[in-house]
Amino acid sequence: MPTATATATATLLDFSDVQMTFPDGTVALSGIDLTVKRGEFVTVVGPSGCGKSTLLRIASGLETASHGSVELATDRIGYVFQDATLLPWRSVQSNVELLAELHGTPKADRLAKAKEAIDLVGLTGFEKHLPRALSGGMRMRTSLARSLTLDPEIFLFDEPFGALDEITRERLNDELLRLFAEKQFAGLFITHSVSEAVYLSTKVIVMSGRPGKIVDTFEVPFAMPRDPEIRFTGEFAGLVGKVSHALREGHH
């Protein structure tokens, strides 16, 4: 990992032996050990229902693990949900301002932050639009911009691009990589797409079906910033194959 060593390698998120049993007896996670350091972009793949969302919910504090310890070294967390979760009565601008508004940031600061974030995700010119007038991809960008205003040290993504078409998804992947290079946050990203996982991350974690366990971990050797063309190399395809294989193994 040539780039990760360049920045400080502080651990931002640390799961050790985490287990999650819901009140109804469902064991969603079991024996999860996981760390995310600054400059790392960790992606989790696993079959549906294996506890990936639960993992993120525990990391963010929305849910409390029933066993094990979870340490989060920052309170600046960006959480990007599967759907954009925009407030339909607010324009793009005021949706992006929302989080800063909830933190009581003064109006002028809020405006500046929102402007910068809207710029970063390429939505300049759409500030006044309501969510219903946006495409799915633009809604997701708005959601990203909203999280960016918090200047998060760690970003949690729960299948953010799952509902988008292939082309939009690839474009947003590239933008996310660009943001990652620029902002140097840590990322914990969940996806169903193995190639998205390999393309985006520095490390891919494979989980098995319920109860969710980590069955394999792959370091991704490609340099960051990533060349989009890398997706068409044999090395890339080889790694995608290995991850897919591990995923299939874990399924049984």
Partner: protein
């Protein structure tokens, strides 16, 4: 952005086209025509259905015209005061139920009882307790109009997305912030839909109140019952028509208000 959904809806909502207003107008003309024919056929019993021009003449007659419009004004007053109270009470009650589970558990059954009691059975009691005047008439309005307000608001408040709530929770938003910046705005379309229903019911309440409580300055309901008792059929028809139109106007007003308030982001029917 020629085809953004925003523009599409705006076009649909634009000036009503001929095809929208022409058919109802044609039907109205037909009804008026039928009234003339029926009136002619009824012969001696023509008083059962007066001619439309006889009805219209009542409005311009110096004796009954002003009386009808003045009593309509009194009815409006009662209906509006009753509606305002019902809206305020309904929204506050729903907020209380949404905020504290125990309030919902203790009081929701009574909201449902309120909805199912035959209001006419209780009306005499209201007069008995509160006098046969303005206050009693307003209370009838509130009793009739309260439930749709409460239930709609509660439904609206409870239809907030789980992910929206979590978005706020992640930022440590206070209960008050969640209420004002998330729950109430989400509930706004439901609140306006409730207000539209309650407004219509409040008009009904005011007229029912007029029938029963005739002290002070009762409204159009009192006139209707008087003209009915005296078999003054053109006057009776004229008053009923005005009362009905009033109900329609109130409904349309709240429809318009709802569209103005939330129509930009919600398809308010």
């Amino acid at each position: 952005m020629a085809d953004s959904p925003e523009l599409v809806t705006r076009r649909r909502r634009g000036r009503p086209r001929v095809s929208t207003w022409a058919p109802p107008i044609a039907l109205l003309a037909l009804i008026v025509g039928i009234a003339y024919v029926a009136n002619a056929l009824l012969g001696k019993r023509a008083f059962l259905l007066p001619r439309p021009d006889q009805v219209f003449a009542v409005y311009v007659s110096p004796k009954n015209g002003p009386a009808i419009f003045e009593s309509l004004l009194h009815t409006t007053e009662v209906a509006l005061v009753g509606l305002a109270i019902a809206i305020a009470l309904g929204v506050l009650w729903a907020i209380a139920m949404n905020t504290a589970k125990w309030v919902e558990r203790t009081t929701l059954p009574y909201a449902i009882i309120l909805q199912s009691i035959p209001i006419l059975a209780v009306v005499p009691l209201i007069g008995f307790w509160f006098g046969y005047d303005f206050v009693a008439r307003v209370i009838v309005c509130v009793l009739i109009a309260l439930f749709p307000m409460t239930s709609n608001t509660l439904f609206g408040l409870q239809s907030v997305d789980r992910s929206h709530k979590e978005l706020f929770r992640l930022q440590g938003a206070s209960r008050w912030t969640v209420l004002t910046k998330l729950e109430l705005p989400t509930a706004l379309p439901a609140i306006f839909a409730g207000a539209r229903i309650s407004a219509g019911l409040s008009v009904v309440g005011a007229i029912v109140g007029d029938f029963f409580f005739q002290r002070g300055t009762p409204g159009i309901g009192a006139l209707i019952s008087k003209f009915g008792a005296r078999l003054q059929s053109p006057e009776l028809f004229a008053s009923i028509l005005v009362a009905s139109l009033f109900g329609v106007v109130v409904y349309l007003f709240f429809q318009w208000l709802g569209r103005r308030a939330v129509g930009k982001w919600y398809d308010f029917g």
